[in-house]
């Protein structure tokens, strides 16, 4: 006996597993068919260590060809593609994400992620939570107030949500970093090496304020516009007219509207969560904040195919997990879907 809700969960699970395989396969394939010479690029990095020059190693050094063969063998790039894929996939699942070609000392990719992910999450989780809460509150307020508040509120929120993040952070840096000189102009805590030490975290917090403000502001714009639309939709529903005809006061009607409008926002929140793990590329790059976005830009710039396949697959995994959770959550938040739990399907 399987309830329709259980069947729904099983279907979803199967779909997401297939999607994950597809994503992993594409993340394995695409870096490899990308133009460029990843091994050559790594050898260059190796050669230029401490010399400060770049370019042309492969042509210049006669041993380069030998060295290249060595690297290819060492990383198993001479094996048939499908063997490479499955070896990589199994290792990925076991937590061995390979070695990054972006750095001369070939650090394990998973160590890089462990180092760059916390600053990103420290930036993006609070900003998502704050912008979600504030945005929903503002959106509902605009919809319930109506009139001038709504008109002015909506147009300012539309303006805020459409500001490009990289532009806003430049403006904020100019105001607070250059003009008033109260906040740092760039995100890296000086020449400190990323670690979990107290000093580093303190320095990070200081550098965290501006990108955090930027991303939160823009997020508030988006969330509030969505919430406003959902609340207005609820306010026009017939059950609202009826509740009013029975003399329920405005604040109760507002509560009903909010309760029903927040359901899709919960789902959207859960779905946004997956995207956090990729970092905010533009803001991190413009501000030089040491997060996943910065790591990704280094890895892409240095043609690090091992880094790419691991980090993209990691990001895809997190997005899929978040979407999966959102899909399941829907069933629990909306009684119309939840009903399936008690319904018996032969």
């Amino acid at each position: 006996m399987v309830s329709s809700f259980q069947r729904y969960i099983i279907n979803k699970t199967a779909t997401y597993i297939v999607l994950w395989f597809l994503a992993a396969f594409l993340n394995f394939l695409l870096p490899r068919i990308m133009p460029g010479d990843p091994i050559g690029r790594y050898l260059e990095t190796l050669y230029n260590m401490g010399q400060g020059t770049t370019g042309g190693i492969v042509q210049v050094v006669p041993e380069a060809e030998k060295l290249r063969q060595q690297v290819i063998e060492q990383f198993g790039l001479d094996k048939p593609p499908y063997t490479q894929f499955f070896l990589w996939l199994i290792n990925f699942l076991r937590g061995d994400w390979g070695y990054s070609l972006a750095f001369p000392n070939l650090p394990p990719v998973i160590d890089l992620v462990k180092q760059y992910l916390p600053p990103t999450l420290m930036l993006l989780i609070p900003s998502l939570v704050i912008s979600w809460v504030v945005g929903n509150y503002l959106g509902a307020y605009m919809a319930l107030k109506g009139g001038k508040v709504d008109k002015i509120g909506l147009s300012s929120m539309q303006f805020i949500s459409l500001i490009p993040a990289y532009w806003l952070i430049i403006v904020l840096v100019f105001i607070f970093g250059v003009y008033y000189k109260i906040l740092p102009v760039s995100g890296k805590p000086g020449y400190m090496i990323p670690s979990l030490s107290f000093d580093y975290i303190k320095a990070l917090l200081y550098h965290w304020i501006l990108p955090m403000t930027t991303i939160t502001l823009i997020g508030i714009g988006g969330w509030s516009i969505g919430m406003r639309a959902y609340v207005i939709y609820q306010l026009n529903a017939n059950y609202m007219k009826y509740s009013k005809a029975l003399g329920l006061p405005q604040r109760v009607l507002g509560r009903y509207a909010f309760r029903n409008a927040i359901i899709p926002q919960f789902i959207a929140f859960a779905m946004s969560f997956g995207g956090l793990f990729a970092g905010n590329l533009l803001v991190e790059m413009v501000y030089g904040y040491p997060g996943m976005g910065s790591l990704l830009s280094m890895i892409l710039g240095r043609l690090d195919i091992f880094g790419m396949q691991a980090i993209f697959t990691f990001t895809a995994t997190m997005i899929l997990v978040a979407n999966y959770v959102a899909d399941i959550m829907y069933g629990f938040l909306d009684p119309r879907i939840r009903r399936g739990i008690t319904e018996v399907v032969e």
Partner: protein, 338 residues
């Protein structure tokens, strides 16, 4: 006199505003006095403005419906007095006092009863809210709800159900129960049986009749196009056509001596109960009801009226009070009174 009237509208115009600034003149210059007490009927074809007028009488006016002109009064016994009545202008009443009246003294069984309930709220929770915000004892009201729901043939676990767990007919009966829960003095029932099968129709009508007979509901205004039902139950009729009230009077008067040509043709258009088709030819009214965006000038009924005169096409007919409570809006009766 005030004691005989429960609700009154003067020169009421309620329009719907469409996106391209076109008005639908759903209620266009209505003067009525709803008599106090008993089962009353507001009758008219679909699209004649019945629902708009019904909602207007309770001052349930929300965009896109707008009030162009007119006043709406509710008349009730002054608190603490058995003989004195007070007339309340619903428009000037502060919102919180209007909310206090709604559901308690003025109530509505809406036409959209099928989706009148909050989809994410159990029936019981909603009733609790209604009781709580009207300062009633929650348990007492819940018990009363269970009794009433039983009379309406609803299952006993209904308070723990969500609206989507009920059939359409059950939802409609639930709304009938909730709308009458606080024993409103003046209840407007807008097509309360339209989506029900015959058995359920009887249950609802008997339920409402009992409330009226026991004086739990003082005045019930039934909005419907079902003439059979109205002729059987109600003591007083208001006939509506094209946004106007065309005739009012007690059921006997209207039935035995319809004045307005529309009323005559409307009454002829229904087969008498028990008649066989060969015995009496059913006659419809030729033509179509007016488009309320562009109503005809003069009398709204003149394009379909066999007695239409020149003046009917040019000037809106006045309301003629034939007897107290007996009115007709037609040029044919102008000279009779003079």
């Amino acid at each position: 006199m005030a004691r005989d009237i429960v609700s009154k509208a003067q020169d009421l115009r309620l329009y719907y505003i469409l996106p391209n600034n076109i008005y639908v003149k759903a209620v266009d210059g209505v003067n009525i006095e709803i008599p106090r007490g008993g089962f009353l009927g507001l009758v008219g074809e679909s699209g004649s403005g019945k629902t708009t007028l019904a909602e207007g009488l309770l001052y349930l006016i929300d965009p896109p419906m707008i009030k162009i002109s007119g006043k709406i009064f509710y008349i009730r016994k002054r608190e603490g007095s058995s003989t004195e009545y007070e007339t309340i202008d619903l428009e000037t009443l502060p919102q919180h006092r209007l909310d206090q009246l709604r559901g308690v003294e003025l109530s509505l069984i809406p036409q959209y009863a099928m989706d009148a309930l909050n989809p994410t709220m159990k029936i019981g929770s909603f009733i609790k809210d209604v009781a709580r915000y009207h300062g009633r004892d929650v348990d007492e009201i819940l018990n009363r709800a269970l009794e009433r729901f039983k009379l309406l043939g609803l299952p006993s676990d209904i308070l723990n159900r969500y609206p989507h767990e009920l059939s359409g007919g059950m939802r409609q009966r639930t709304v009938v129960g909730i709308s009458t829960l606080l024993n409103p003095k003046f209840l407007v029932a807008d097509e309360p049986v339209s989506n029900l099968d015959v058995v359920q129709q009887h249950i609802v009508i008997d339920f409402l009749t009992e409330l009226v007979e026991k004086k739990i509901v003082e005045t019930l205004l039934m909005v419907t196009h079902d003439l059979h039902l109205i002729l059987e139950k109600s003591r007083y009729l208001l006939l509506m056509y094209g946004g106007h009230i065309v005739e009012t009077g007690s059921k006997e008067e209207v039935w035995s001596e319809p004045l307005h040509p529309y009323t005559k043709m409307f009454l002829e258009s229904i087969p008498p109960v028990g008649s066989r088709i060969e015995e009496k030819r059913i006659r419809g009214i030729p033509g179509n009801p007016p488009d309320l965006r562009y109503p005809p000038p003069g009398c709204r009924f003149h394009p379909r009226c066999p007695f239409a005169m020149d003046i009917c096409r040019r000037k809106e007919p006045p309301e003629i009070e034939v007897r107290p409570g007996r009115k007709v809006k037609c040029w044919l009766f102008v000279d009779r009174k003079v």
